[in-house]
Structures are given as C-alpha cells and as structure tokens.
Homo-oligomer: 304 residues x 2
Amino acid sequence: MTVTIYDVAREAGVSMATVSRVVNNNPNVKPQTRKKVYEAIERLGYRPNAVARGLASKKTTTVGVVIPDIANALYAEVARGIEDIANMYHYNIILTNSDKRQEKEIRVINTLLEKQVDGLLFMGGAVTDEHIQAFKTSNVPIVLCATKDENGNIPSVDIDHEAAAFDAVNQLISEGHESIAMISGTLEDPANGYARFQGYKRALETAGLPYREEYVRIGNYKYESGIEAMQYFLELPTRPTAVFSATDEMAIGAIHCIQDNGLNVPEDVSVISVDNSRASSMVRPTLTTVAQRCTTSGRSRCGC
Amino acid sequence: MTVTIYDVAREAGVSMATVSRVVNNNPNVKPQTRKKVYEAIERLGYRPNAVARGLASKKTTTVGVVIPDIANALYAEVARGIEDIANMYHYNIILTNSDKRQEKEIRVINTLLEKQVDGLLFMGGAVTDEHIQAFKTSNVPIVLCATKDENGNIPSVDIDHEAAAFDAVNQLISEGHESIAMISGTLEDPANGYARFQGYKRALETAGLPYREEYVRIGNYKYESGIEAMQYFLELPTRPTAVFSATDEMAIGAIHCIQDNGLNVPEDVSVISVDNSRASSMVRPTLTTVAQRCTTSGRSRCGC
DNA sequence: CTGTTAGCGCGTTCAA
DNA sequence: TTGAACGCGCTAACAG
C-alpha cells in the first residue's frame, strides 16, 4: 500500500542509502543517479515517513508549545510568532492549552516529551518544583516564555515589562503631565504586575515627580476593574490628569468610565497602556499603546 | 542514556512484550507481574517513546490543523475548541498557519502527511484541485472547516452562516425595524459573504419586507469598510433604521460612523452582526451579536 | 560516489 | 498468562 524508500530504491535501481541521500539533499550523489531517483520518486509518488525518520535520527523537527489559552489574543499573537519562526526552520509545533492549571501543565509536558519533541516552549504561570522535576526527566532544551523559575536556571524569553511601563509613563510625562495615576495588576505577578509598577515608579522618580499612594489602584486585568479604578481616581480631591494602565483591557474600562462621568479623553484625562491587542486599535478615543510586539517576543528563541 | 522498554523488561524480569502489554493496559497480564513492571518503570523513570510506538503501530495520536492565522481571534477560538476535543481523546494537534496562501497550504499539508498525522483538519479559503490532489495522496481522514470543496465530497464542518444571518436580521425585524440595510462581505466568499447575504434576503422575504439594492454595501471585513458603508447609508434620502453587518469588525466601524455623524446607537440606528469576537463585548454602545459559538464549531468533529 | 548492515524503540503475531 | 522473533521505514556508520 504505502510506498517506502525500499520501493524507490528498487525502482531506481540503486540502494536505500542512495535514496536516503537524495531525499536528504546529501551532496555525495552523482547528478545522474540523483535524477534517476527523483524520477522513481515521482513515478511512485513516494513520500518520506517522518516518524520512521524520527526514530532513526532521533530528531522530530517538532517543538512542543504549552500555552495557557490560545483563544487569548495575547497568547495567540505569541503563538503565531513562534510558529512563524519554527516554520522558517522547517519545524512544526504541537500546541497545547494548559489554562495555567498545574496538573494539566505537567500532563502535557510529559506527553510532549513522550512525542520526542526537539524542544519545549513553556508559557504559563508559576514554575513549581513539579515542573522542574518534569523538565529534568528529559534532555530536550526547555525555554520558558513570559514566566520564570525561581532560581532563573531555565532559559527564558519575555518582554521587558519594566522598560515598557517606563516608556509609557515617560511619554505621558513628556506631554507635560505631572499627576499620573496607575491601574496596576497584582504586584504578586512578577511580570505584568510588579515589573510594570516598578517601571511606573522609576519614570516618576527619573522625572522628579512625587509618588502618591492614592494614585495607584490594583486591578485584575479585566475591563470592569479598569472602570472601578478610574472611578476611584475621578473621585479623588485632586484627580490625575493622566492614567497609565498595565493592560489594554483595563485601559478601555478606564476610558469608558471617564466618558460615563461626562469627561473627555484625552482632554480631561489621558490614558495609556502597554499591551497591544487588536481591540485597542478599534476603540475610541484612540488608545495610545506602547507597542509591545508580542509576535516578536515569540520569535526571540524557541529552543530549536 | 535513555531507558527503553527493554531495560524495563530486564529490570522486572519479564519480556518486552509483557512490558508493552502493561504500558498499553492490555488486560492479559497477571496483576502480580503488572505490579512488578510498574515498579520497574517507576524505578527506572521509563517514558514510552511515542515515535517508536507510532512507527510500530502506524498511529501517532496526532492530528494536523492548518489554519489561516492563529492570531485572528475567530480562528483562535476554533483552534481552542479543536485542541480541547483532541485533548479529550488524548490526541495532540500540530498547528500550522497558512495565511490562506495556496502554496503554503499545499506545503504544510504535505508536511503534516509526512508526519503521519491520524487526521487532518483544513481551514482555509478555496479548495482547489491542487488541494484535492494533495489530500488524495494519503488515506488519512481529512475534514474541511469553514470551507468546502466544489463537489462537496470532502467531509466538512462549519457554522450555518445563512441561518446565523437570518436570525440576526429577524431579531431586528422583531424589534419593529422595517428598513434594514446590510454591510456584506464579498459575495464571492461562499460562507461569510454569500451565505450571510442570503440569510439577510430570506429574513426580509419571510417578513414581507422589500429588498432594496441601495441598502446593501459590500465591505472587505475591515473596520474602515464598515465606516464607509455606514456613511453611504446615512447619506441616503431615506436612511435605514437598522443595519446588519456580516462581521463584528465592520459593525464596530458602522457604530463609530454613526456616532461621528452626531447620531446615537441604537436610538437612531440599530446595529447587529454575527461574529462573536471578544472585542465586541468591549465596545460601546453594546453591540448585539448573534452568538456564533466558534469554539463549539471547532468541536463538532475533527477527523479523529 | 555507492551499497551493506545495523539498529532506532516498540507493537504484534505466533507458540508455548 | 507469557516470551521469542519479526518488522515498521528510515538513518548512519562503515566499507568499498
């Protein structure tokens, strides 16, 4: 039924090894025999079996990707970047959603390793001892993305949240704002939360602006929490003239809240954030976002 | 280095066959020996090699998915649904982006087939003879998603665009609207374009409402084209009281256009669409969308 | 430049 | 209930 390398060899009157060389573009083949082999391949409609090849060569040209949720726009962008790069090197990706549930994460990591992926890209929340344990059972390169292990032993790639936040707030400052509030994520979140908050503080310091506790509210990244935070700011005795949001979604909530209070953006209050989701380009008034190039971050390295 | 089934066999004092039976949950193993094997597996940290297994069994428990662009929210939702179901049956998916470029589509289809996927899910634009040709070179089940081949020979799953459009327009009618315009996609697009347009027309007919040519504009699914179309409608001698958009993005453009003209939604003009992207829930005024359950559509069947 | 020969790690008869 | 032996389709020395 299926035509194998052996069939091609017989058809072309050469050995399996020669066919293998031709298929793998090994230069050590006389052009003439190469041609014969190609013809035989064409005639028989031969297609190499990547599984057999993988077993023999111990390489699958496949990398595993565990991602919290591909339906999330941010992760989808990253996934796209990863697949682009993988594709460029003729690799494929096995994609798995983990929903950041540890039990599921561990399970898919093991499945991926069973499938002999050549590399594993892990995007998730916390990296626990169990994760480390699972990683250590294999020799394939692991790279963390948008997360880190406590010791920082595992290679990881991520955007520089601190710098992104710093840039965003700086832009506000350069526009003349002096009272800038922040809608932050939880400070327990090292990346989207703490790091961005640090960037915010550093920008204020650098500009010689005072840091005021009442100008910082912790949200949960959701639209509604953006509204709540903004409402709080607007009711302050001296309300801020600008707001820096840790994420686009909260920023949009903030904008709507401002409008609901009969104020205008950016005339009365400016809003800026650091995500770069597609939604942000479709919201009004235009939401200035410091491009975060999610896709690019997926491109940095992928363990292959 | 790597521990194989043979090592486990030796450690447990049984044969490879027995270990294989245990690993594959074959009932024909004495509980006692099963236990011995499990212990040996534990002790050695044995992990089955899925590639070798795939070669021997001719099954990879992997399905290939070619999708236009995972960074697109709609497709991402579908992909999520597919992965969920695959995961439920202990399958994995190899995901590839095609950008609807035929050359790339054909290439990844072949790659996926080389990798011996147990099924192939193809999401794309047109299904040409070249596609059919590529599909035929293999025996793995192929299923089309959100697209169809001309003859309808290949199994396919999709949402019922016609019905979705019909429902959406019907809702407008039930709200008392009698002059309803439509921002359509290109009619060459059988699904998002033509089918939705048909649904629009059928709803009008069913309600005994007249179909007016000037009440239909063709857009390109983009935000801007929603604005253009809406502007056209607003400048009509008798402007429509409601607008049905083939996609959310164009609907959002329409809404903004209405507002830019100093009118209100839905007081002056109602807007409805049939996508269900996340963006639509964050836009104001609230955009009524007929839930299209993209994720569910990904769940229907996946060729495995 | 080409052919021969071993495996890669596992599932699967077929006997026992 | 268990084991021996073969083969899945291909790559990788090695030899010539």
